[in-house]
């Protein structure tokens, strides 16, 4: 029998307690995994959403993070078009509003160019006609509002006819409504104003040349030119998202620490119960080091099994959350390797710390005292 086998047999002596402790750690790790996946899911959903709508580059107002708070004059489009290397410019307006019933809706005003609307995929119905109070809904927002093609909905004190449902794939876009730019500008009292411009550069430009064009625009106008990835990066540094991430990180840490405390309590109890036994081990020549190793190995066993369980719980929870429409429709929920590795890498040393105190407790008495222990 080796030390490891002996440690294992000690854990098997109290199977229920061992399993409960493993379960406690597994839940803690699972929570951390799910929360980390959530934090990253928010960011990735944004990134995917922007790439899905892709034009090559997005022009946004400098020093403003909230896209609905950006105000650029529509006339800036002409200046952009005049920059050497820019092939095509279109503009969008974003308004965050609500129905009379209080349901919040993000509305995108899309340039009245046929090419721009052609990029909006149609699931049912049709695209709005230019200049008419017509709106297309993402399928998720349509479901939230309980609206279907042919219905009328009230937004911004005006009535709009739902003429189509979009067929976007990402959570971000499935929750957005779209209408002709001019119509939205009038309804939201933001005439001649837009939130962002999308630009396409001349085909076949070198990377160096592309950078030069972007620099030229940023020098001439109070804007930032970003590709879609950069946009998602910036949006995810939005204060609300940062707070959400901080909260989920904090809860992850608390969960993992609770898992380690759980281990500490269990080992402390088991060391306490085995005081006489540990005295016996001393009497047959076990050194303090060997006793400490034994308890640490028992802790490591529980910690590792807890982590394996936790990874499984985390994966299960993520897929479960992802399949709940209210959650899965808003954010993607696939844990990456780092979401799995990070809590585990944090938990194993913490479990060792949790095992260290009981291990020390096991050898702090003189063996004679331990053997007399009731």
């Amino acid at each position: 029998m080796t030390l490891v086998e002996f440690a294992y047999s000690n854990l098997k002596r109290r199977p229920a307690r061992t399993l409960l402790t493993i379960l406690g750690i597994a839940l803690a790790i699972g929570t951390a995994v799910a929360l980390l996946a959530l934090g990253r899911g928010i960011y990735e959903s944004l990134a995917e959403g922007f790439t899905e709508r892709s034009s090559e580059l997005l022009v946004t107002q400098r020093n403003v993070i909230d896209i609905t708070a950006m105000r650029l004059p529509e006339s800036m489009g002409l200046e952009l078009a005049a920059v050497d290397g820019v092939a095509e410019v279109s503009s969008e307006l974003y308004v965050f509003t609500s129905t009379p019933a209080g349901q919040q809706v993000m509305v995108a005003g899309v340039s009245d160019s046929a090419a721009k609307w052609a990029l909006v995929p149609v699931a049912s119905g049709r695209r709005p006609d230019a200049g008419r109070p017509e709106i297309m809904l993402g399928d998720v927002i349509a479901q939230t509002l309980g609206a279907k093609v042919g219905d009328r909905i009230e937004l911004l004190d005006e009535e709009f006819e739902v003429v189509g449902i979009t067929a976007y794939g990402t959570a971000l876009n499935r929750g957005v409504a779209a209408m002709p730019l001019k119509v939205l500008q009038e309804a939201s009292l933001r005439l001649a104003q837009v939130s962002t411009f999308s630009i396409r550069l001349d085909p076949g430009l070198s990377q160096v040349r592309k950078r030069e064009v972007r620099a030229a625009i940023e020098q001439r106008l109070p804007v930032v030119v970003s590709d879609m990835q950069e946009i998602a990066d910036r949006l995810s540094s939005d204060r609300n998202i940062t707070i959400l991430k901080a909260v989920s990180n904090a809860i992850s840490i608390v969960a993992v620490v609770m898992g380690a405390l759980n281990l500490l309590a269990t080992l402390l109890l088991s060391v306490q119960e085995r005081t006489r036994e540990i005295g016996m081990l001393s009497s047959i020549g076990w050194s303090d080091r060997l006793v400490i190793s034994l308890i640490m190995i028992e802790g490591l066993f529980i910690g590792i099994l807890g982590c394996v369980g936790g990874v499984l719980v985390g994966l299960a929870a993520s897929s479960l959350f992802g399949s709940i429409p209210a959650i899965g429709d808003i954010i993607s929920f696939t844990p990456s390797l780092s979401d799995l590795v990070l809590p585990v890498a944090f938990a194993i040393p913490l479990c060792m710390v949790g095992a260290a105190y009981p291990a020390w407790r096991a050898v702090h008495m003189l063996p004679a005292e331990a053997l007399r222990h009731a």
Partner: protein
């Protein structure tokens, strides 16, 4: 039989408990010689167990010094190493782990060592205590006498130079007590190790070469017996 050289040498040992209110050992000097058999007797509370604990480092004295083979032993680590290599201890309670087989209980004493032939040594020892056939049994499936023999095998598997037995037959009926005692004396001679038995049983004490009597934490009598009955 002893060649007269000291294995353990206790010098001026004092040990008190309860902030000095209980004086368990009150100035004990004692030399245990290689290969001898010693009975440690005395009334309950006279300090016999305490003396064995100090002689094996399970307890540390408040005052006094302990020498092993002429070298003073001071640290817990030194004592653990000595118990591992040279001191076997058995108690009145057997202290066997209930979920391990007899064989595994004996193997416990070899865990963490660099000894080869673990299996062989364990089988060998089980055979010596007459339990070859019962190595796979759990303690619950053994009689009291058999359990104490497992504890004895565990204490002796490293072939120590000194066996300390604190009322080893105290929990056994007379037939089992006699069998265990005979086995201990047998192994004491075969393995040429010193044997110290704490006992209240006078007939057991008389099987030793030397009887040391404790009273109130002091040695009040220490005599060699003329004849040794086997």
């Amino acid at each position: 039989m002893t060649d007269g050289r000291a294995v353990v040498w206790l010098e001026g040992i004092r040990r008190s408990f309860d902030h000095g209110r209980i004086r368990a050992l009150n100035g004990v000097d004692l030399v245990l010689r290689r290969g001898e058999s010693v009975a440690l007797v005395g009334r309950s509370g006279s300090g016999k167990s305490c003396l064995l604990n100090v002689a094996s480092g399970l307890d540390l004295p408040d005052e006094g010094r302990v020498f092993w083979d002429g070298t003073e032993v001071t640290s817990r680590g030194q004592w653990a190493a000595l118990r591992r290599s040279s001191i076997g201890i058995v108690f009145q309670e057997f202290h066997l782990l209930p979920t391990l087989t007899a064989r595994q209980n004996v193997e416990l004493a070899l865990i963490g060592g660099r000894d080869g032939e673990t299996r062989l040594r364990v089988e060998h020892m089980l055979e010596k205590v007459g339990l070859s056939e019962m190595g796979d049994r759990l303690p619950a499936e053994l009689s009291g006498g058999e359990r104490q023999r497992v504890a004895l095998a565990r204490a002796l598997v490293r072939e120590p130079e000194l066996l300390l037995a604190d009322e080893p037959t105290g929990n056994l009926d007379s037939a089992n007590a006699d069998a265990v005692a005979t086995l201990m004396f047998d192994l004491h001679r075969k393995l040429q190790m010193a044997l110290v038995i704490v006992t209240h049983d006078l007939s057991l004490a008389k099987r030793c070469e030397r009887i040391v009597t404790l009273a109130d934490g002091r040695i009040c009598d220490d005599r060699m017996l003329e004849t040794v009955s086997a």
